[in-house]
């Protein structure tokens, strides 16, 4: 999977700024993510963490600054951008499985249309991935026939089918019923353990403690603090992080 020397970060954001109208949602973001690293982004809602996640595969463009993936600058639009997106897996809060396609077709679509894999090969690999996330029995059903937790695990399999260099998770458990959160987090934890490079926007502090190499705390469009999970949860430096943690950890 690696094509460059290990010194180079896999994802690098430098001086990234973005405005929604007058709202300065991302302010001078500098962030490097190494190969195999799991970075958890946390922060209050409206802090810009989802937007940050979405700029990495350019679902949101940036107004200033630069983002590189594997040393390559994010292209503006068109075929080059599509090719780069194929290497960046994305898991959405609302799953976004293709509603008119079966579970198996959801997972094979990218490999067949983008990677030009033979259908039989793509299906074999898709079944392996569905088995890995525990959904193999549902391969011929449609997304709406599955529970939220199952749909989200399919969405992870769909992203993995592209053999991505990095996986982005944009609040992957926020739309789930509480009893389904763990089944998704378990899949993510095992991915992290297998060495996948991951950027995870989440409110799941347990996952951050268990799986993250680094916690990035955002507030008001800025990266306020970056620390190991151990340091961040036991001795946060900034006042805003202390305030945030006291609000979410005390119940």
């Amino acid at each position: 999977m690696t094509s460059r020397p290990n010194g180079e970060p896999l994802v690098r954001l430098s001086g990234v700024n973005k405005w929604f109208g007058d709202l300065h949602v991302l302010q001078d973001i500098d962030l490097s993510i190494d190969r195999g690293e799991v970075v958890v982004v946390i922060g209050p809602s409206g802090s810009g963490k989802s937007t940050l996640c979405r700029t990495i595969n350019r679902l949101e463009g940036v107004d200033k600054g630069e983002i590189t993936i594997d040393g390559e600058r994010l292209p503006e639009e068109g075929k080059a951008l599509a090719r780069l997106r194929a290497d960046v897996g994305m898991v959405f809060q609302s799953f976004n499985l293709f509603a008119h396609k079966t579970i198996l077709e959801n997972v094979t679509l990218g490999p067949v249309k983008v990677r030009r894999k033979a259908r039989a090969d793509a299906e074999r690999r898709a079944r392996e991935l569905l088995d890995r996330v525990g959904i193999s029995a549902q391969a011929d059903k449609y997304p709406a026939q599955l529970s939220g937790g199952q749909q989200q695990r399919v969405a992870i399999a769909r992203a993995l089918a592209m053999d991505p260099k990095v996986m982005l998770f944009d609040e992957p458990t926020s739309a789930l019923d509480p009893e389904m959160i763990n089944e998704v987090l378990e899949v993510m934890t095992s991915l992290a353990r297998d060495g996948m490079t991951m950027v995870v926007v989440t409110h799941e502090m347990g996952f951050a403690r268990r799986a993250a190499n680094r916690v990035v705390f955002m507030d008001g469009g800025r990266v306020v603090e970056t620390a190991t999970p151990e340091d961040f949860f036991t001795r946060p430096e900034s006042e805003r992080a202390k305030d945030f943690l006291s609000k979410i950890l005390n119940h």
């Binding site: 599509a82 290497d87 959405f92 293709f98 983008v114 449609y142 969405a155």
Partner: protein, 216 residues
């Protein structure tokens, strides 16, 4: 009854003309309308502008005027269609494409944005995500409005009668002139001809609608 039997050859050929006008211009409008709808949602401003211009021009021009233009207007610039039938198909198709495009665009807008985002996120380009993810879902939600467009088109073919195409309405005029005593019978025969096209289409569209419905 004798009247129907006596005029059967004319009625049959008029019916077939109306049917083929509707089918040919319907297919043309479906293809052109789909391309226009794709252009209207594309990221390229030029394509969006062109498609919007087209839709506004043809949606707001009376069909008879479109016919006039294609039959007589283009002669001014030394153009002519090989046959009146083809000119009629062009007029009906160009006009109806604007309505197909608008119906489809509303269907595209009804597809949740997350679907297109997920398609782009796995590396599909704009055209691929439109073709494989967005349009298939859009078509399903626009079956009822497309059914309306088709039925309107089937009836709009009657304008061709005014331009010397012998369709059902032209047959009505001709038969009514020579059979003034049987005028109700003439009307009955012609209306029956249109109903034979439109009623089964309505049933077919309803059947398609239930078959392709997607659960969300």
């Amino acid at each position: 009854m004798q009247f129907l039997i006596d005029n059967f050859p004319l009625l049959r050929s008029a019916f077939l003309t109306t049917l083929s006008l509707a089918v040919a211009s319907g297919l043309f409008a479906l293809v052109l309308g789909t391309i226009l709808a794709g252009m209207r949602v594309s990221p390229a401003p030029t394509l969006r502008g062109l498609a919007t211009f087209y839709v506004e021009v043809f949606r707001n021009t009376p069909l008879t005027v479109v016919f006039f233009f294609l039959f007589f207007g283009i002669v001014e610039i030394d153009l002519q269609f090989p046959s009146r039938f083809i000119a009629a198909v062009a007029a009906l198709g160009l006009y109806t494409a604007a309505f197909v495009a608008e119906a489809l665009r509303s269907g595209i807008n009804a597809v949740p944005t997350g679907q297109a985002e997920a398609a782009r996120a796995i590396g599909l380009d704009f055209g691929q995500s439109l073709r494989t993810v967005v349009l298939p879902q859009a078509f399903r939600t626009v079956v009822p409005p497309l059914g309306n467009v088709w039925i309107a088109l089937a009836k709009n073919t009657s304008i061709a009668a005014g331009f010397a195409v012998t369709d059902l309405t032209a047959a009505l005029q001709r038969l009514a002139n020579v059979n003034a005593d049987q005028i109700l019978m003439v009307f009955f025969a012609i209306v029956l001809g249109y109903l034979v096209i439109t009623l089964p289409s309505a049933w077919a569209f309803r059947a398609i609608e239930t078959r392709v419905a997607i659960v969300r």
